[in-house]
């Protein structure tokens, strides 16, 4: 038995041209290792590690061969953990006008076979102009650029091949263009329009709703195992093309079992229900979703102009306790003018006792690209505080806060404050003392929407 093993050791393989090698610096191995640990999923450490090294190697190579080309790696899948958690290639590496997808393999010897993840060719969200094989041998501190294909070629190569059950197309490495010096040539001389990428279908949201019931069931079952062990490819298509679901999957192992059900419930509301764009509020306007769900600006447009005292301007609308004094009471850190100007309110008709809800939004001056949301729920003017009212705020990573109003403790209102980046959404749910549940439309902040 042993003899056989050693016999096979004797099998050597032709090396790729050593001129396609590029040295991996020592610190990039360290960086790759650290980043792979942060994925917080042991079985993903390896692919992420290889992907990081492939990315470093590729960057280095392009810099050597065509220093004029601009590389932007900020959007790459490996740097976004929700994607790195499921993708087996580096997507969205931008070189000049092109999108490049890196396919890392272990070892710098040429492979016979390249396992191409189905997602990077079958899903327009991940399609690239060029697909590049990158061999990694960290023990020799080397990466090797081994071959490439453009989008049309890769589609043709996959055409006659059945994907494996773990969603890889087993492509022959010899079908790739081996003269990799043509890649810098293509990247610097070709017009981006000469390789057309597929368009993302418009019905993603509709398909998502169709699969919602089954996915509600299946997604919580995914702990750290690969998607193909639980989902069909059709179901996976829905998940892979939805950033929120991917993010949830990445957080899934850290969600405690006892809140799992609630977290799931909130997740699907966040993913499926149309969101209110709170950016409009900061402009003193309401978008369609907001006004259709009965919110009103707390401060009438006529009284928005500054000059008069805030308390006076606002006092006309709330007879018992003004929003301003509430805000002052909650935190001195809230910029009053800004938050009051963007505030909305509505009265929610619980059967037992209706409540009034305020929502205020402001940007943090200290932190770029973040927004703050404050929710205050209490009695309608003149009414007694709603004992036992429950306020829950969630995002796709789970329940962020869950609090109950206790009048005995002298509380007359309940509030919650969250901070998010521009791609984050929040869901607010109110439950009254009898268990009646009201979920509000999700809140999101989309500054790029032009008015």
């Amino acid at each position: 038995m042993k003899e056989e093993i050693f016999d096979y050791f004797d099998e050597y393989t032709e090396m790729a041209d050593s001129e396609t090698f590029v040295t991996l610096e020592d610190d990039c191995r360290e960086q790759a290792r650290n980043w792979s640990k942060r994925i917080n999923n042991e079985s993903r450490e390896w692919p992420v590690y290889l992907q990081m090294l492939a990315l470093k190697g590729f960057q280095h190579w392009i810099k050597q061969r065509q220093p004029d080309l601009a590389i932007d790696v900020s959007q790459t899948s490996v740097l976004n953990q929700a994607y790195a958690n499921v993708m087996d290639a580096v997507c969205h590496c931008k070189v000049g006008d092109f999108d490049v997808c890196l396919l890392p393999i272990w070892g710098i010897q040429p492979a016979d076979e390249i396992l191409l993840p189905r997602a990077v060719v079958d899903l327009p969200e991940f399609a690239a102009h060029f697909y590049v094989i990158i061999g990694i041998d960290e023990s020799q501190e080397q990466a090797a650029i081994q071959g490439f294909l453009n989008y049309d070629q890769i589609v043709a190569a996959c055409d006659s091949i059945e994907p494996d059950m773990d969603w890889n197309y087993p492509l022959l490495a010899e079908d790739f263009e081996a003269d990799v010096s043509n890649l810098p040539l293509n990247l610097s001389c070709l017009n981006a329009g000469s390789i057309l990428l597929p368009v993302i279908p418009k019905n993603r949201q509709a398909v998502l709703r169709k699969f919602q019931p089954i996915l509600e069931d299946l997604l919580p079952q995914i702990q750290k195992q690969p998607l193909w062990k639980v989902l069909t490819w059709e179901q996976a298509t829905v998940v892979l093309t939805n950033a929120d679901l991917l993010k949830w999957l990445w957080y899934r192992p850290s969600i405690a079992e006892e809140v799992l059900k609630t977290a799931c419930l909130d997740l699907w509301q966040l993913v499926c229900r149309p969101a209110m764009n709170v950016y409009r509020w900061t402009q003193g306007q309401l978008d369609t979703i907001t006004s259709e769900s009965n919110w009103s600006l707390a401060l009438a447009t006529a009284t928005r102009s500054s000059g008069t005292d805030l308390d006076t301007r606002f006092g006309n609308q709330c007879s018992d306790q003004t929003l301003v004094s509430l805000l002052k009471e909650i935190s001195t850190d809230i910029p009053l003018e800004e938050s009051v100007n963007s505030s909305v309110y509505q009265d929610i008709g619980f059967k037992f006792k209706p409540v009034r809800v305020y929502a205020a939004v402001w940007n943090s001056p200290a932190m770029e690209n973040t927004w703050n949301l404050l929710l205050i729920a209490g009695a309608l003017p003149g009414d007694n505080p709603p004992e036992g009212l429950r306020l829950r705020i969630s995002d796709v990573t789970g329940v962020l806060m869950d609090d109950v109003l206790v009048t005995e403790a002298g509380e007359s209102y309940i509030y919650g404050q969250v901070q998010g980046s521009f791609d984050e959404k929040f869901l607010v749910t109110l439950t009254d003392v009898n268990g009646e549940v009201k979920s509000l439309h999700p809140f999101e902040y989309q500054a790029e929407v032009s008015l």
């Binding site: 038995m1 050597y12 001129e19 710098i108 020799q140 494996d164 010096s181 001389c189 000469s194």
Partner: protein
């Protein structure tokens, strides 16, 4: 059964890489005294003797020293055989000879110095020391170990790599495989679903243990990827769920079987080599005329850009300016003086032809120059065209130019390349544009 004299004949390598067989009387006497019955019969039970010699190694006695040298004699013989086999099999095709390989394998085996002290100080561990350190006589014969250690030795691997050869180990094959591949391949070989399930489980256990080992920061920096050891195999056995309680030997056997399937599969799947199509037509004549006047300035510009980039890269890495100088000198000697690679080597004090070709990186130079030339050509030709073409026509022209230019410049480069490898005559290369331009740039540089 082996020959007794393997234990007292030491193979040494001299300065020119040739091997010499040295009879060591001290070890012969020792060996005859230790194993009289074997010597008399003229053949020895290697496994048994190696086990006993390894036992004698313990301690700092005279016996230990003798035993070590007996083993080293045997190791030197085995390494010689392993090197010969490598050279016979791959040397001719990949351009290396026994005299180049032997110093790597037998370095550190000097008869007159027990050079342990020096080797420990320099951090250099010879192949023979490595074999002795890792040899386990319970597992397999010493010659097998020699073969294996030799092939996983870093210097040997690097040497073979430089000659275009790399080991394709089971571990490489298994680490690159996926569960989906297991299913696909094993079905081809008519394995049962149960076998497939078991093999998938095994592969996942292998990935888990082996990858964790590589990811471990303390893993051999600049070392080699080792075969899994017994501890790893035990850990794999523990990870398996379909079949439990396998011994390390059984795991190893199953891993081996699985990689044999993969190897056979990839041989089956390989397509017959395609006949490379020669480019059907030469560059379009009309286009050639259009481009001709632009070619030379663009090529010159391209050389300047690419050479400057190379030199910048050198100085950024803070290597000695010497290497830049060598590199430039080599380029000049090669293209302007028309020397061959082997003639250049001594001129710039490098050992051999491969060293020069690594320094010149000719292929990279050519393709970088090609890319730059096309970039510049594209710009200057488009400038001409833009005045009388519509945007749509321009786009079309751009595409045509791209396609034809690539052909045109490749053609140009190819003729330069052909000359590079065939010509040994001096100054015969000035007739082609590539060399001419390169020489101009190089001469203006200094």
């Amino acid at each position: 059964m082996g020959e007794p004299l393997n234990y007292w004949q030491l193979i040494q390598v001299d300065g020119s890489g040739r091997s010499h067989c040295i009879d060591r009387a001290e070890q012969e006497n020792f060996f005859r005294a230790q194993f009289p019955e074997n010597v008399d019969s003229g053949s020895v039970a290697d496994r048994k003797i190696q086990r006993q010699l390894m036992n004698l190694l313990q301690g700092d006695t005279e016996e230990a020293k003798q035993a070590e040298w007996c083993l080293k004699c045997y190791i030197s013989q085995a390494l010689l055989i392993a090197c010969r086999a490598l050279v016979n099999r791959h040397g001719m095709h990949h351009g290396f000879i026994l005299e180049e390989l032997l110093p790597l394998a037998l370095g550190g085996l000097q008869a007159n110095s027990l050079n342990r002290d020096t080797s420990e100080k320099s951090g250099f561990i010879s192949v023979s020391d490595e074999v002795l350190r890792r040899f386990n006589p319970e597992k397999s014969g010493l010659s097998t170990w020699c073969d294996r250690i030799l092939k996983s030795n870093r210097e040997v691997k690097r040497f073979l790599l430089e000659h275009g050869l790399e080991l394709k180990t089971n571990w490489l094959i298994l680490n690159r495989a996926s569960v989906g591949k297991v299913k696909r391949v094993l079905r081809v070989f008519d394995q049962t679903e149960r076998d497939i399930e078991e093999a998938s489980d095994l592969l996942q256990a292998f990935h888990k243990v082996y990858r964790a080992e590589i990811l471990e920061p303390r893993s051999r920096k600049g070392g080699t990827y080792p075969a899994p050891d017994t501890q790893h195999l035990e850990a794999m056995a523990r990870c398996m769920t379909v079949v439990q309680g396998l011994s390390p030997e059984e795991i190893l056997e199953k891993l081996d079987q699985l990689s044999i399937f993969f190897r056979q599969y990839s041989v089956q799947r390989l397509k017959p080599p395609l006949q490379k199509k020669e480019a059907e037509s030469g560059p379009n004549n009309e286009l050639k005329q259009l481009l001709e006047p632009h070619c030379r300035p663009c090529l010159e510009k391209a050389f300047q850009v690419v050479l400057r980039r190379r030199i910048d890269a050198f100085s950024k890495r803070d290597l000695s300016r010497e290497k830049d100088q060598k590199s430039l000198n080599a380029l000049r000697l090669f293209h302007c003086e028309g020397l061959s690679l082997s003639q250049i080597a001594p001129e710039i004090s490098l050992n051999d032809q491969p060293a020069v070709s690594r320094l010149l990186k000719l292929k990279t130079l050519r393709s970088d120059v090609k890319t730059e030339t096309i970039k510049h050509l594209k710009e200057s030709v488009l400038e001409l065209a833009s005045s009388f073409r519509s945007p749509e026509a321009l786009k079309q022209l751009d595409e045509q130019v791209n396609a034809s230019l690539d052909e045109y410049v490749t053609d140009l480069m190819k003729s330069a390349e052909k000359k590079a490898y065939t010509s040994k005559k001096a100054s015969c290369q000035t007739d082609n544009l590539f060399s001419q331009t390169l020489c101009n740039v190089l001469n203006n540089w200094s």
